[in-house]
Amino acid sequence: MALIESVGITKVYKLGDVEVNALCSVSLTIERGDFIAIMGPSGSGKSTFMNILGCLDTPTTGHYLLEGTDTAQLNRDELAGIRNNKIGFVFQGFNLLPRTSALENVELPLLYNGISAKERRQKAITALKAVGLEGREGHHPTQLSGGQQQRVAIARALVNDAPIILADEPTGNLDTKTSSEIMELFVKLNRESNITIILITHESDIAAYSRRIIKFLDGCIINDEPVRKL
């Protein structure tokens, strides 16, 4: 069974009286442990597709099977449960809670699945160690650099042992050096922990870290091929 199976997914937005087709029948399969880069210009539907993969949104028609479960059948709270257990998000703008320590930011997903405070703390410390932020547990986001903030966000995505990380332009706000450090971290997580990583990017040198590149244009997949490693 494939980890992710998308069967004829469409998404139609209504802007006033005008209907906008953001996705036109997208079908693809993603296997466990894959590392995928989604590319495409603005408005090509890649973010819409990503939101559906992340269970933040549901398709208008078609089916999205995550580990065999059709998410179209799930309600709001069940989708929240899937986001909590199966998916870790990494955003371009980091999206950490302000005035909250790194440790508590990482603990956030665990708050919503009812494990004890002691275990939460233990898991959050382990996750921060995994992204190389040992000793910065008490720092607030404003006291951390952009790269460090993104590492906190990655630790937050890891802390629930989710099999999938969805990263929406994770290096968009970072300089080149920090970008490659973050990408190395993703590669390491993919190889060593067998975490499936799906990331959106504009830049082909970032996409080059992946194993498979999917290109979107006007809501359709126009290209889907493995990366040829030199």
């Binding site: 939101n51 992340g54 933040l56 949104d57 709001r76 709270d77 929240a80 449960g81 986001r83 909590n84 257990n85 998000f89 955003f91 999206n95 950490l96 809670l97 302000p98 005035r99 909250t100 956030l108 997903p109 708050l111 919503y112 699945n113 009812g114 405070a117 937050r156 629930n160």
Partner: protein, 409 residues
Amino acid sequence: MINIPSTIKISFRALRVNKMRSALTMLGIIIGVGAVIAMLAVGTGASQKISEQISSIGSNLLIVLPGATTAGGVRMGAGTQPTLTMRDAEAILKECPSVLDVAPDLSGVAQIVYGNQNWSTGVRGTTPSVLNVRDWSIDEGKSFTEQDVKSATKVALLGQTVVDNLFGEVTPIGKVIRIKNVPFTVIGILSRKGQSPTGQDQDDTIYIPLTTAQKKLFGTAFPGMVRIIMVKAKSTEGLLDAEKQITGLLRQRHRIGPKQDNDFTVRNLTQMMQAAEQSTKVMTLLLGAIASVSLLVGGIGIMNIMLVSVTERTREIGIRMAVGAKTWDIRLQFIIEAVTLSLIGGIAGIVAGVSGSKVISMIAGWATIVSPLSILLAFSFSGLVGIFFGFYPAYKASLLNPIDALRYE
């Protein structure tokens, strides 16, 4: 699964971040709860005072007064025509089923002398049952008996004011006083009653056997005449029945025809006082209701701030939803914030209300009573205000679309 302790922790942190705003929001609740407690305390104090007065004149008390004389077309006012007798009193006790006890009374003002002290006071000739009728007790010594009434013994019970004025430090029991130059032996002292509802000193009195008053002090227009008859009904509910039974009985005994006016009046003191008590209760309710309006306004203040807070924290809500917060996780977070605001405000309001009513007592001189019930009421009401006014903002937050919330700038 909702994690209550950490949700509470999150809420507290959010309130700490905006200290000034939280404090001002609480102020609305503090004023509301404080006002409710202080107003109820003023009202309860007033009605407590009235019920104390009711019990001081004697509970379930009816007073039968003789009627008015009409002399050449000039009506002289209630009590000018002596029509009541001891036999009337005995008949009331015997024949009216709603009556518990009666005490006939023949009184007058007289000069009292003891040693070189003298004092002018009301001397009431009555029967021993007066103590039961007026809910009065003997502090020292003993009461006179039916036998004393039968044989017109010259014994007296003194009120506290009389004791203070005639005896000072001397023990009055067994001493001989002179009332209108007639010697009486003091056999008992009445307990202290304080002021009547009309402001008279009820302790400024002397009780002597009825017959002694009739024969030795005041004389009678006809044998067995009494000035008034005090009646104790069996119960408050029975007061009106007793009134009817007495009226019927006395009309019959006095041979009053169907078209003639009564030659006596029955006054229902308890009922009058209860009406007064009722009106203070209404006043209490009214004051409380007005004060609750300020509590309501405080609640709206909470709702207002919570709505602002939800808007400000849209992005935070989006992040929480993205990492798996469910509808009720988000709702509870904001409801707990609102309830925390209102409960802390409620506790501070209780302190403000209790000290406020103390200040009112001090400045205005009113009796105020803070009842535990009003504290409990105000506290739980402020909690409810928090839940009620916190729910809409929380509901609004929980319905946000996570994608839009994450993009919110």
